[in-house]
Symmetry: C2
Subunit: 206 residues, 2 copies
Protein backbone atom coordinates (compact mmCIF):
# COMPACT_ATOMS: atom_id res chain seq x y z
CA UNK A 1 0.00 0.00 0.00
CA UNK A 2 1.08 3.51 -0.71
CA UNK A 3 1.43 5.55 2.46
CA UNK A 4 0.46 8.79 0.71
CA UNK A 5 -3.15 7.66 0.52
CA UNK A 6 -3.27 7.90 4.29
CA UNK A 7 -2.34 11.57 4.16
CA UNK A 8 -4.15 12.96 1.13
CA UNK A 9 -3.97 16.46 2.60
CA UNK A 10 -0.16 16.62 2.45
CA UNK A 11 1.22 18.97 -0.18
CA UNK A 12 3.67 17.85 -2.86
CA UNK A 13 6.77 19.45 -1.35
CA UNK A 14 6.07 17.83 2.00
CA UNK A 15 5.66 14.42 0.43
CA UNK A 16 8.98 14.81 -1.32
CA UNK A 17 10.69 15.88 1.89
CA UNK A 18 9.29 12.90 3.76
CA UNK A 19 10.21 10.51 1.01
CA UNK A 20 13.74 11.78 0.97
CA UNK A 21 14.39 11.90 4.70
CA UNK A 22 12.01 9.61 6.56
CA UNK A 23 12.62 5.93 7.16
CA UNK A 24 9.92 3.32 7.09
CA UNK A 25 10.27 0.67 9.74
CA UNK A 26 8.44 -2.57 10.49
CA UNK A 27 7.60 -3.64 14.01
CA UNK A 28 6.29 -6.98 15.16
CA UNK A 29 3.49 -7.23 17.68
CA UNK A 30 5.05 -6.59 21.08
CA UNK A 31 8.01 -4.56 19.82
CA UNK A 32 8.79 -1.41 21.76
CA UNK A 33 8.90 1.77 19.68
CA UNK A 34 9.64 4.12 22.51
CA UNK A 35 10.49 3.62 26.15
CA UNK A 36 9.96 5.85 29.19
CA UNK A 37 13.04 7.98 29.79
CA UNK A 38 14.50 7.36 26.35
CA UNK A 39 15.62 10.22 24.13
CA UNK A 40 13.39 10.76 21.16
CA UNK A 41 15.16 10.81 17.84
CA UNK A 42 12.16 10.79 15.55
CA UNK A 43 8.46 11.40 15.24
CA UNK A 44 6.37 8.35 14.41
CA UNK A 45 3.58 8.24 11.83
CA UNK A 46 1.66 4.98 11.89
CA UNK A 47 0.97 3.53 8.43
CA UNK A 48 -0.33 0.09 9.28
CA UNK A 49 -1.21 -1.86 12.40
CA UNK A 50 -1.79 -0.43 15.83
CA UNK A 51 0.46 1.17 18.42
CA UNK A 52 -0.42 1.36 22.08
CA UNK A 53 0.61 4.43 24.07
CA UNK A 54 0.71 3.96 27.80
CA UNK A 55 2.12 5.33 31.00
CA UNK A 56 4.28 3.31 33.31
CA UNK A 57 5.19 3.85 36.95
CA UNK A 58 8.07 2.70 39.11
CA UNK A 59 6.17 -0.11 40.80
CA UNK A 60 5.48 -1.84 37.51
CA UNK A 61 1.97 -0.46 37.04
CA UNK A 62 0.73 0.36 33.56
CA UNK A 63 -2.00 2.59 32.30
CA UNK A 64 -3.31 2.73 28.75
CA UNK A 65 -3.64 6.20 27.29
CA UNK A 66 -4.71 5.54 23.71
CA UNK A 67 -4.05 3.66 20.51
CA UNK A 68 -2.58 5.02 17.31
CA UNK A 69 -3.88 3.60 14.05
CA UNK A 70 -3.01 4.17 10.39
CA UNK A 71 -2.77 7.88 9.60
CA UNK A 72 -2.19 8.89 13.19
CA UNK A 73 0.88 10.27 14.91
CA UNK A 74 2.17 10.40 18.43
CA UNK A 75 1.72 13.91 19.85
CA UNK A 76 4.19 13.24 22.62
CA UNK A 77 6.92 12.40 20.15
CA UNK A 78 6.18 15.59 18.24
CA UNK A 79 6.33 17.76 21.30
CA UNK A 80 9.39 16.04 22.67
CA UNK A 81 10.99 15.99 19.25
CA UNK A 82 10.73 19.74 18.92
CA UNK A 83 12.75 20.09 22.09
CA UNK A 84 14.78 16.88 22.07
CA UNK A 85 13.28 15.88 25.36
CA UNK A 86 13.05 12.40 26.81
CA UNK A 87 9.91 10.36 26.43
CA UNK A 88 7.33 10.29 29.20
CA UNK A 89 5.42 7.38 27.75
CA UNK A 90 5.79 3.88 26.38
CA UNK A 91 4.87 3.03 22.80
CA UNK A 92 4.45 -0.62 21.88
CA UNK A 93 3.16 -2.25 18.70
CA UNK A 94 0.00 -4.18 19.47
CA UNK A 95 -0.14 -5.69 16.01
CA UNK A 96 2.56 -6.01 13.39
CA UNK A 97 2.93 -2.41 12.30
CA UNK A 98 4.50 -0.20 9.67
CA UNK A 99 5.72 3.14 10.93
CA UNK A 100 7.25 6.13 9.20
CA UNK A 101 10.01 7.66 11.30
CA UNK A 102 10.74 11.32 10.70
CA UNK A 103 14.01 12.56 12.21
CA UNK A 104 13.57 15.28 14.81
CA UNK A 105 15.93 17.70 13.10
CA UNK A 106 13.46 18.06 10.25
CA UNK A 107 10.45 18.89 12.36
CA UNK A 108 11.15 22.58 12.85
CA UNK A 109 11.89 23.16 9.21
CA UNK A 110 8.83 21.22 8.08
CA UNK A 111 6.60 23.19 10.42
CA UNK A 112 7.76 26.40 8.79
CA UNK A 113 7.83 25.27 5.20
CA UNK A 114 4.73 23.13 4.84
CA UNK A 115 1.39 24.51 5.85
CA UNK A 116 -0.22 21.08 5.59
CA UNK A 117 2.32 19.62 8.00
CA UNK A 118 1.72 22.43 10.43
CA UNK A 119 -2.00 21.76 10.26
CA UNK A 120 -1.46 18.06 10.71
CA UNK A 121 0.60 18.66 13.85
CA UNK A 122 -1.98 21.01 15.32
CA UNK A 123 -4.73 18.53 14.52
CA UNK A 124 -2.75 15.77 16.17
CA UNK A 125 -2.27 17.84 19.32
CA UNK A 126 -5.92 18.50 19.54
CA UNK A 127 -6.98 14.90 19.01
CA UNK A 128 -4.56 13.50 21.58
CA UNK A 129 -5.45 16.21 24.04
CA UNK A 130 -9.11 15.30 23.67
CA UNK A 131 -8.37 11.63 24.14
CA UNK A 132 -6.44 12.32 27.30
CA UNK A 133 -9.26 14.48 28.58
CA UNK A 134 -11.71 11.63 28.18
CA UNK A 135 -9.23 9.31 29.89
CA UNK A 136 -9.07 11.74 32.80
CA UNK A 137 -12.85 11.88 32.92
CA UNK A 138 -13.05 8.15 33.13
CA UNK A 139 -10.61 7.60 35.94
CA UNK A 140 -11.70 10.69 37.84
CA UNK A 141 -15.46 10.23 37.64
CA UNK A 142 -16.23 6.63 36.74
CA UNK A 143 -16.14 3.31 38.53
CA UNK A 144 -14.37 0.32 37.09
CA UNK A 145 -17.53 -1.13 35.48
CA UNK A 146 -18.06 1.97 33.37
CA UNK A 147 -14.37 2.27 32.62
CA UNK A 148 -14.41 -1.32 31.39
CA UNK A 149 -17.35 -0.64 29.09
CA UNK A 150 -15.55 2.40 27.72
CA UNK A 151 -12.41 0.33 27.22
CA UNK A 152 -14.22 -2.37 25.24
CA UNK A 153 -16.08 0.17 23.16
CA UNK A 154 -12.88 2.00 22.33
CA UNK A 155 -11.17 -1.25 21.43
CA UNK A 156 -13.75 -2.26 18.85
CA UNK A 157 -13.86 1.24 17.43
CA UNK A 158 -10.13 1.25 17.03
CA UNK A 159 -9.69 -2.23 15.61
CA UNK A 160 -12.85 -2.44 13.56
CA UNK A 161 -13.41 -5.95 14.89
CA UNK A 162 -16.61 -6.79 16.69
CA UNK A 163 -14.89 -8.81 19.41
CA UNK A 164 -12.08 -8.07 21.80
CA UNK A 165 -9.45 -10.74 21.41
CA UNK A 166 -7.38 -10.35 24.52
CA UNK A 167 -7.26 -11.92 27.98
CA UNK A 168 -8.80 -10.53 31.14
CA UNK A 169 -5.29 -10.11 32.53
CA UNK A 170 -4.30 -7.79 29.69
CA UNK A 171 -7.40 -5.68 30.20
CA UNK A 172 -6.62 -5.48 33.91
CA UNK A 173 -3.11 -4.28 33.08
CA UNK A 174 -4.39 -1.60 30.71
CA UNK A 175 -6.81 -0.31 33.32
CA UNK A 176 -4.31 -0.71 36.16
CA UNK A 177 -6.72 -3.05 37.91
CA UNK A 178 -6.58 -6.77 38.74
CA UNK A 179 -7.63 -9.82 36.77
CA UNK A 180 -10.26 -11.00 39.27
CA UNK A 181 -12.02 -7.65 39.28
CA UNK A 182 -12.19 -7.59 35.49
CA UNK A 183 -13.42 -11.20 35.31
CA UNK A 184 -16.18 -10.47 37.79
CA UNK A 185 -17.30 -7.28 36.05
CA UNK A 186 -17.31 -9.06 32.68
CA UNK A 187 -19.52 -11.79 34.17
CA UNK A 188 -21.95 -9.13 35.31
CA UNK A 189 -21.92 -7.61 31.82
CA UNK A 190 -22.66 -11.03 30.40
CA UNK A 191 -25.62 -11.37 32.74
CA UNK A 192 -26.86 -7.99 31.54
CA UNK A 193 -26.49 -9.41 28.03
CA UNK A 194 -23.96 -6.83 26.92
CA UNK A 195 -21.23 -9.32 26.03
CA UNK A 196 -20.61 -13.01 25.46
CA UNK A 197 -17.47 -14.43 27.03
CA UNK A 198 -15.12 -16.89 25.35
CA UNK A 199 -11.56 -17.88 25.92
CA UNK A 200 -9.27 -14.98 24.94
CA UNK A 201 -12.24 -13.31 23.32
CA UNK A 202 -15.06 -11.05 24.38
CA UNK A 203 -17.89 -10.70 21.94
CA UNK A 204 -19.85 -7.47 22.09
CA UNK A 205 -23.60 -7.98 21.67
CA UNK A 206 -25.26 -5.99 18.82
Amino acid sequence: MNWKELFPQFEAGLINAIEKEAVQRSFNAGDVLMRTGQYIKSTALVLEGRVKIYRENQEGGEFLMYYLGPGQACAVSMICALQSHTSEIMAVAEEDSEVLMIPVQLMDDMMNKYKTWYQFVIQTYRNRFDEILSVVDNIAFRNMDERLEFYLKRYVEKTGKKSVEISHQQIADDLNSSREVISRLLKKMEQRNLVKLHRNMIELVQ
Copy 2:
Protein backbone atom coordinates in the same frame (compact mmCIF):
# COMPACT_ATOMS: atom_id res chain seq x y z
CA MET B 1 3.02 46.56 35.58
CA ASN B 2 3.91 46.21 31.95
CA TRP B 3 2.74 42.92 30.50
CA LYS B 4 5.66 42.75 28.07
CA GLU B 5 8.04 41.92 30.89
CA LEU B 6 6.26 38.62 31.28
CA PHE B 7 7.02 37.70 27.69
CA PRO B 8 10.54 38.97 27.06
CA GLN B 9 10.97 36.47 24.23
CA PHE B 10 8.24 38.03 22.08
CA GLU B 11 9.51 39.86 18.99
CA ALA B 12 8.66 43.50 18.28
CA GLY B 13 6.14 42.83 15.51
CA LEU B 14 4.26 40.38 17.70
CA ILE B 15 4.09 42.84 20.56
CA ASN B 16 2.68 45.47 18.23
CA ALA B 17 0.10 43.05 16.88
CA ILE B 18 -1.00 42.08 20.37
CA GLU B 19 -1.15 45.68 21.50
CA LYS B 20 -3.31 46.60 18.56
CA GLU B 21 -5.73 43.69 18.64
CA ALA B 22 -5.81 42.09 22.07
CA VAL B 23 -8.00 43.23 24.92
CA GLN B 24 -6.94 43.24 28.54
CA ARG B 25 -9.64 42.17 30.95
CA SER B 26 -9.90 42.07 34.72
CA PHE B 27 -11.57 39.22 36.55
CA ASN B 28 -12.49 39.03 40.20
CA ALA B 29 -11.81 35.91 42.21
CA GLY B 30 -14.53 33.43 41.33
CA ASP B 31 -15.32 34.88 37.90
CA VAL B 32 -15.74 32.36 35.11
CA LEU B 33 -13.46 32.92 32.10
CA MET B 34 -14.63 29.94 30.13
CA ARG B 35 -17.42 27.45 30.57
CA THR B 36 -17.76 23.85 29.41
CA GLY B 37 -19.55 23.72 26.07
CA GLN B 38 -19.07 27.42 25.36
CA TYR B 39 -17.62 28.61 22.08
CA ILE B 40 -14.16 30.00 22.40
CA LYS B 41 -13.70 33.45 20.97
CA SER B 42 -10.24 34.16 22.26
CA THR B 43 -7.06 32.75 23.68
CA ALA B 44 -6.23 33.78 27.21
CA LEU B 45 -2.79 34.88 28.42
CA VAL B 46 -2.64 35.32 32.17
CA LEU B 47 -0.85 38.49 33.26
CA GLU B 48 -1.64 38.59 36.96
CA GLY B 49 -3.40 36.39 39.48
CA ARG B 50 -4.23 32.74 39.08
CA VAL B 51 -6.69 30.87 36.90
CA LYS B 52 -7.90 27.38 37.71
CA ILE B 53 -8.54 24.97 34.86
CA TYR B 54 -10.81 22.07 35.70
CA ARG B 55 -13.01 19.41 34.22
CA GLU B 56 -16.68 19.13 35.09
CA ASN B 57 -19.09 16.25 34.63
CA GLN B 58 -22.85 16.07 34.34
CA GLU B 59 -23.43 14.98 37.94
CA GLY B 60 -21.80 18.11 39.32
CA GLY B 61 -18.39 16.57 39.96
CA GLU B 62 -15.27 18.67 39.47
CA PHE B 63 -11.69 17.75 38.88
CA LEU B 64 -8.77 20.15 38.99
CA MET B 65 -6.39 19.90 36.05
CA TYR B 66 -3.94 22.73 36.70
CA TYR B 67 -3.46 26.37 37.48
CA LEU B 68 -2.32 29.11 35.14
CA GLY B 69 -0.15 31.85 36.55
CA PRO B 70 1.35 35.06 35.10
CA GLY B 71 3.02 34.39 31.76
CA GLN B 72 1.07 31.22 31.11
CA ALA B 73 -1.61 30.47 28.57
CA CYS B 74 -4.42 27.98 28.26
CA ALA B 75 -3.46 25.28 25.77
CA VAL B 76 -7.06 24.19 25.38
CA SER B 77 -8.13 27.65 24.31
CA MET B 78 -5.31 27.73 21.77
CA ILE B 79 -6.21 24.40 20.28
CA CYS B 80 -9.90 25.13 20.28
CA ALA B 81 -9.28 28.61 19.00
CA LEU B 82 -7.45 27.32 15.97
CA GLN B 83 -10.51 25.32 15.03
CA SER B 84 -13.30 27.37 16.62
CA HIS B 85 -14.34 24.45 18.73
CA THR B 86 -16.26 24.51 21.97
CA SER B 87 -14.49 24.38 25.29
CA GLU B 88 -14.05 21.08 27.08
CA ILE B 89 -12.99 22.66 30.33
CA MET B 90 -13.88 25.29 32.88
CA ALA B 91 -11.61 28.24 33.60
CA VAL B 92 -12.22 30.25 36.75
CA ALA B 93 -10.19 33.02 38.37
CA GLU B 94 -8.98 31.85 41.78
CA GLU B 95 -7.61 35.26 42.62
CA ASP B 96 -8.34 38.65 41.12
CA SER B 97 -6.66 38.33 37.74
CA GLU B 98 -5.60 40.29 34.70
CA VAL B 99 -5.90 38.43 31.43
CA LEU B 100 -4.98 39.33 27.88
CA MET B 101 -7.58 38.08 25.43
CA ILE B 102 -6.39 37.47 21.88
CA PRO B 103 -9.17 37.02 19.33
CA VAL B 104 -9.16 33.62 17.64
CA GLN B 105 -9.11 35.04 14.15
CA LEU B 106 -5.60 36.32 14.74
CA MET B 107 -4.14 33.03 15.93
CA ASP B 108 -3.49 31.48 12.55
CA ASP B 109 -1.89 34.60 11.17
CA MET B 110 0.27 35.08 14.25
CA MET B 111 1.46 31.49 14.10
CA ASN B 112 2.70 32.08 10.58
CA LYS B 113 4.12 35.54 10.99
CA TYR B 114 5.81 35.44 14.36
CA LYS B 115 8.31 32.76 15.11
CA THR B 116 8.35 33.66 18.81
CA TRP B 117 4.59 33.21 19.02
CA TYR B 118 4.82 29.85 17.32
CA GLN B 119 7.48 28.80 19.83
CA PHE B 120 5.38 30.06 22.71
CA VAL B 121 2.40 28.02 21.57
CA ILE B 122 4.48 24.86 21.16
CA GLN B 123 6.01 25.41 24.58
CA THR B 124 2.57 25.88 26.07
CA TYR B 125 1.33 22.66 24.53
CA ARG B 126 4.25 20.76 25.95
CA ASN B 127 3.90 22.18 29.44
CA ARG B 128 0.19 21.54 29.68
CA PHE B 129 0.59 18.07 28.24
CA ASP B 130 3.19 17.30 30.89
CA GLU B 131 0.94 18.60 33.62
CA ILE B 132 -1.93 16.45 32.44
CA LEU B 133 0.36 13.43 32.32
CA SER B 134 1.30 13.89 35.95
CA VAL B 135 -2.37 14.35 36.81
CA VAL B 136 -3.13 11.05 35.08
CA ASP B 137 -0.30 9.40 36.99
CA ASN B 138 -1.74 10.57 40.24
CA ILE B 139 -5.30 9.42 39.75
CA ALA B 140 -4.26 6.19 38.02
CA PHE B 141 -1.54 5.04 40.40
CA ARG B 142 -1.89 6.88 43.70
CA ASN B 143 -4.23 6.69 46.65
CA MET B 144 -5.93 9.75 48.03
CA ASP B 145 -3.26 10.39 50.67
CA GLU B 146 -0.53 10.73 48.06
CA ARG B 147 -2.77 12.70 45.75
CA LEU B 148 -3.46 15.10 48.62
CA GLU B 149 0.25 15.58 49.30
CA PHE B 150 0.81 16.25 45.61
CA TYR B 151 -2.06 18.73 45.62
CA LEU B 152 -0.68 20.68 48.56
CA LYS B 153 2.81 20.68 47.14
CA ARG B 154 1.59 21.96 43.79
CA TYR B 155 -0.47 24.63 45.50
CA VAL B 156 2.46 26.14 47.37
CA GLU B 157 4.65 25.92 44.27
CA LYS B 158 2.05 27.75 42.24
CA THR B 159 1.15 30.46 44.73
CA GLY B 160 4.56 30.99 46.28
CA LYS B 161 2.90 31.00 49.71
CA LYS B 162 4.03 28.53 52.35
CA SER B 163 0.53 27.73 53.51
CA VAL B 164 -2.60 26.60 51.72
CA GLU B 165 -5.37 29.03 52.53
CA ILE B 166 -8.46 27.12 51.53
CA SER B 167 -11.04 24.93 53.23
CA HIS B 168 -11.07 21.14 53.33
CA GLN B 169 -14.27 21.23 51.30
CA GLN B 170 -12.59 23.08 48.44
CA ILE B 171 -9.73 20.60 48.40
CA ALA B 172 -12.23 17.76 48.32
CA ASP B 173 -13.94 19.39 45.34
CA ASP B 174 -10.68 19.80 43.46
CA LEU B 175 -9.79 16.15 44.01
CA ASN B 176 -13.35 14.95 43.41
CA SER B 177 -13.41 13.47 46.89
CA SER B 178 -15.39 14.27 50.04
CA ARG B 179 -14.71 16.65 52.87
CA GLU B 180 -14.56 13.99 55.59
CA VAL B 181 -11.94 11.99 53.73
CA ILE B 182 -9.75 15.04 53.27
CA SER B 183 -10.15 16.10 56.90
CA ARG B 184 -9.11 12.65 58.10
CA LEU B 185 -6.12 12.41 55.79
CA LEU B 186 -4.99 15.87 56.83
CA LYS B 187 -5.21 14.82 60.48
CA LYS B 188 -2.97 11.86 59.71
CA MET B 189 -0.53 14.15 57.94
CA GLU B 190 -0.54 16.38 61.00
CA GLN B 191 0.28 13.36 63.18
CA ARG B 192 3.15 12.55 60.84
CA ASN B 193 4.24 16.15 61.35
CA LEU B 194 3.95 17.08 57.69
CA VAL B 195 1.44 19.90 58.21
CA LYS B 196 -0.12 22.06 60.91
CA LEU B 197 -3.86 22.57 60.63
CA HIS B 198 -5.63 25.86 61.21
CA ARG B 199 -8.99 27.20 60.23
CA ASN B 200 -9.04 27.81 56.46
CA MET B 201 -5.30 27.30 56.40
CA ILE B 202 -2.90 24.41 56.17
CA GLU B 203 0.68 25.14 57.05
CA LEU B 204 3.26 22.93 55.37
CA VAL B 205 6.11 21.81 57.62
CA GLN B 206 9.42 21.04 55.98
